[in-house]
Amino acid sequence: MSAPLTRAQMAWRVAQDIPNGAYVNLGIGMPEIVANYLPPDREVVFHCENGVLGMGPMPAAGKEDYELISAGKRPVTLVAGGAFVHSADSFAMIRGGHIDICVLGAFQVSVKGDLANWSTGEPDAVPAVGGAMDLAVGARRVFVISEHCTKQGAPKIVARCSYPLTAVGVVSTIYTDLAVIDVTNGGLLVRELIQSLDLADLQRRTGAPLSLARDWRALVAPELP
């Protein structure tokens, strides 16, 4: 297979990199569906910044309880071994470095791992940040999941973010529909690439210099509904 990954496949790809035992926060939007593709033998604890530690799957229809919701304000469930905490304690978990992985969407990511995902800076936009800035600086590793380019074809991986920043130098790995790219001190390192592209193709779609990891692999994902 060689086509760009679907959103489901991107989420699946991120899920493969979440190790057993990790404490994970999934941002609102595409990151939320990562939970659906976790390999069944993995035990992972999902954290929601509104104070739910041990988020489980969506409840059955009719069983929704709007006092048990995710940060995205959808009804969820709690797994055995979960716990409820208040907002100050929840963000102590985040800011204190207790969340192993946070998966966030992005408007832009820079070559230095700067993240812009909360505001496009348009003058009439109503600004809203939620927990994004705390998650970006606090999680041990920040995974970005995002289409490689905007709908207009502009690169989202850039030399320098033009949108207002969420946090500076925080992104570990970028998972796009075309590639998996580590942000390293030596720059952007392509670890996986879909088979229909070569590095030059990917570079044309990217606003910052890429290099190919010596052990790079083909980015392949199963067919998913």
Binding site: C48, E49, N50, G51, V52, D65, Y66, E67, L68, I69, K73, L78, F84, V85, H86, S87, A88, S90, F91, I94, R95, D114, S119, D124, V126, P127, A128, V129, G130, G131, A132, M133, D134, V137, G138, P164, L165, T166, A167, V168
Partner: protein, 248 residues
Amino acid sequence: MHCSALANARRVVIDKRVANVVQAVAGIGDGATIHISGFGEAGNPTELIHALIDQGARELTVVSNNAGNGHLGLAALLEAGRVRKVICSFPRSSHAEVFIGLYRAGKIELELVPQGTLAERIRAGGAGIGAFYTPTTVGTPLAAGKEVRTINGRDYVLEYPIRADFALVKAELADRWGNLVFRMAARNFGPPMCMAADTTIVQVRRIVERGEIDPEHVVTPGIFVDRIVEVAKPISEVAVLLGKASAP
């Protein structure tokens, strides 16, 4: 500090129950700063807010994670023109049309605070902390004008506490001493807000006898609570939004 006249102690007898939401919100004056608990539709003290609308206080500053949903609760308070300023992390929810309209019309002030910084500033207000350094917002527009300090090689922004004149909070159970337990994700900002107000007002689904709440399970001890009122069947904002219930 320098007076032994004891008549005006804040708490005269430890029975913090009041009969109804009207009494619960008595004394909230124009210009007050008010903490309002809740995240999305979980933990909003909707009945207290509606009592506050009826009570009439104006020019309020509201501290809350969101800025109201639909036309109920905080959104209704905004719509009634009672709020001068909102301090929150995420005013742009899916049903935040009231706030968005006021904001675009220049009729309301917004102080945008990241959610973790908001929770910590409120806790600091309750815990007597003068200010604290947080890594959140370093290098972003939200740090503009704020003091930045490098500590052990990492940059931090200085943030100040947020205290309120009143806190309006929703919890699950209380006893007459004001000990509280919450329910699931409705806990959110309730406990820190209870700590950080001159007068903390809590609506609960049920008031139980003193001693019924296990001392190991108390989430917010009564020392942080001033008034409790039973609202046995609080409105579900989401039910109204989804058309499954009607507004009060």
